[in-house]
Amino acid sequence: MSGEGLGARPHRQGALGVTMSVLNRVAGSRLVARLGVKAPVDRALYQVTRTGFTAVNRTFAATRTLSAPRRLPAAPERAVFDLTPTEEQAMIADTVREFAAERLRPSASEADEKCAAPPELLATAAALGVTLIGVPEDLGGVATERSTVTNVLVAEALAHGDLGLAVACLAPAAVSNALVLWGDQTQQATYLPSFTGEDVPAAALAVQEARPLFDPFALRTTAHRTTGGFVLSGEKSMVPLASSAELFVVAAELAGRGPALFLVESSSQGLSVDPEPAMGLRAAATGRLTLSKVAVPATALLGDSAAYADCVRLSRLGWCALAVGTGAAVLAYVTDYVNTREAFGEPVSHRQGVAFRVADIGTELDGMRLATYRAASRAEQGKPFAREAALARTLCATKGMTIGSDGVQLLGGHGYVKEHPVERWYRDLRAVGVMEGAVLV
């Protein structure tokens, strides 16, 4: 038996420990009383729990009937290795980059603190057409073929502004992209018009569950068939825009089939949301979604078995794109800092110990980007991309986190305080190796 290692036994409190615990509680409350310390704003905000809410929810209803679901054709197969974006992609990426620099970056710190994205910012993102990019033309969008690469470029550009806000902006697009990819004619006719209209609903793709070694192919949230449809039970973790979302796509284990996606309107009976703030992604207003015997109609089942695996892969690619954008932000920020900051009579960038870390950030970041582009390009050309998505994910999770950590390290003590954004990027980049769902390219 080798049960004596670190963490093998729980810590037990002795008599002295119990006394100290009591003293701690007393001291804590005294201090609060004497200083009149107010709970931080974000905590107060998080007291607002939404249980069995009856918030103003639109009624999703089909305004026209579709004879068949609209599917975007695979992009044409390409003949040569090429890293040049199309003119249209370059234009879209430029626009989004500008928006990210002017609107996301300046709002990021406050949004992080408040655990909420400014509503007008989300409205502007929607107006820019973040959800339109993946929706076919005849359903009110702008897409003529599958555009995974364009979606990746958009996510990358947004994350250069701020990762948390990028997730908030992209959360509804995860749902609309899923509807385009796997929705049947009724589902598309019912839900997609809202995503191409003036007032795009908050919506979220809920895959994640809160437990160690979470595997999206071994879900604990369950779906059982009933006469009228399905009943869903379970808990979904780190759902972006959870308390404002009007529509969820929920991943659940469907008895007899395996993991599957379900459309669940937020007004459904038995659905509740609790705040779930984390170390990062705070601007995305993440929440815990609890489903207690939520009944959904038979029409709620989205896509076939193959769809679920693709959903997981495309979601991971979304996180890869976010890591690449954030990594680029780190590189730009530290480059400027180490060239300006002086120590021992010269810029710290004149030291190899500093300069080589910057070199490694540049090298690994470029590799992350290429791996992500390769997987996305294969996906939109209709080629198998499971391998490429997995490798991009592994790279972006590990190298992305190293970049986040080096970003703080290169600023030293200044990197550790909130005057600079690198500590936020450190917190946000940890999400890339953890998250499943939430975004979808």
Partner: protein, 400 residues
Amino acid sequence: MINLEISPKLATLVDQARQAALAFLRPNSRKYDQAEHTYPTELDTLASLLDGLSASGGGAGAAGVRKAKKTSKGVVNGANMSLAVGTMEMCWGDAGLLLAMPRQGLGNAAIASVGNDDQVARYKGKWAAMAITEPDTGSDSGAIRTTAVRDGDDYVLNGEKIFVTSGERADCVVVWATLDRTKGKAAIKSFVVDRDTPGFELVRLEHKLGIRASDTAHFRLTNARVPARNLLGTPDILPDQGFAGVMQTFDNTRPLVAAMAVGITRAALEKTRELLTEAGITIDYDRPPHTQPAAAAAFLTMEADYESAYLLTLQAAWMADNGKPNSLQASYAKAKAGRSATDITLRCVELCGTVGYNEQSLLEKWSRDAKIMDIFEGTQQIQQLIIARRLLGKTSAELK
């Protein structure tokens, strides 16, 4: 239009190169690793075959690295890319043997990159090695001491050169020498020196950790007379750009060394996967690595680094083919591929236990061969310096 798959035309080339590697390189891999300094005669046949392929636009010939002149508006996958993918396949076969390939020396790359039309024509079909390093000068190639003094129609060369790949077997050696040691890097020129030149003496061949099929020579030049027309590039000492011209060769050769590293890495990963599969380990690309056996998770991590190195290499070659300056990306590729090759091949040996460590498989050999990839054509640290200077906008005087 973003696409990171190689073209069908290149895929055909890759297939040919793999067939050649399977037929000529793998079967001789262990033999010449053990018989260091023995000339691999099998390569003569393969080299003739490759010459044929080169003539038809394929092959892994080092003559193909001449900077592409953009002729069409469209994106091309040209000589640099085909050379990169061809090199990967050949090194998947055996890196030492590829380095020993007749007429595929780094000197050939230098002549192709910076030689004038007359020089290219005169040395067509010759095997050219490259001599830069000296006993006291490694990465600091600006500090070389070998001198070249003009005397009539000749230059007279004096000095010592080490680590000359294929130096003994080649027809000629491209030797770096300074015209005037007081004028620094700008005075460094390269000269094509024929092997039978009087005063050009082979001192010895090195015994090495890996790539033992490739010989590594040590030369002494004592009043070696070289015709003036054998100087590559301009004979003038131009303070601003002299050295840059010589260094330009590296922009083209670094992606090739990266490609070699990628080839060895893939060989090790494929063998390791085969052995792990026999051992009952399956690798699942969809399930999170942490939920899989540690060996499977380790494999995924290694394959991800391999993918990064592979794509960075293709990127550098693609840029060269399309007339885009690629110094930074060439160093990205070399830095990533060099360190990954060493890390991954060593990890593969570890995962496979004594099957990896003993001479039963080629895994231990690949991990010895791999180490040179992080050293020659600029060490890991030199690549980091180049990358850092570019990203930070620093001169070599500021960031030393």
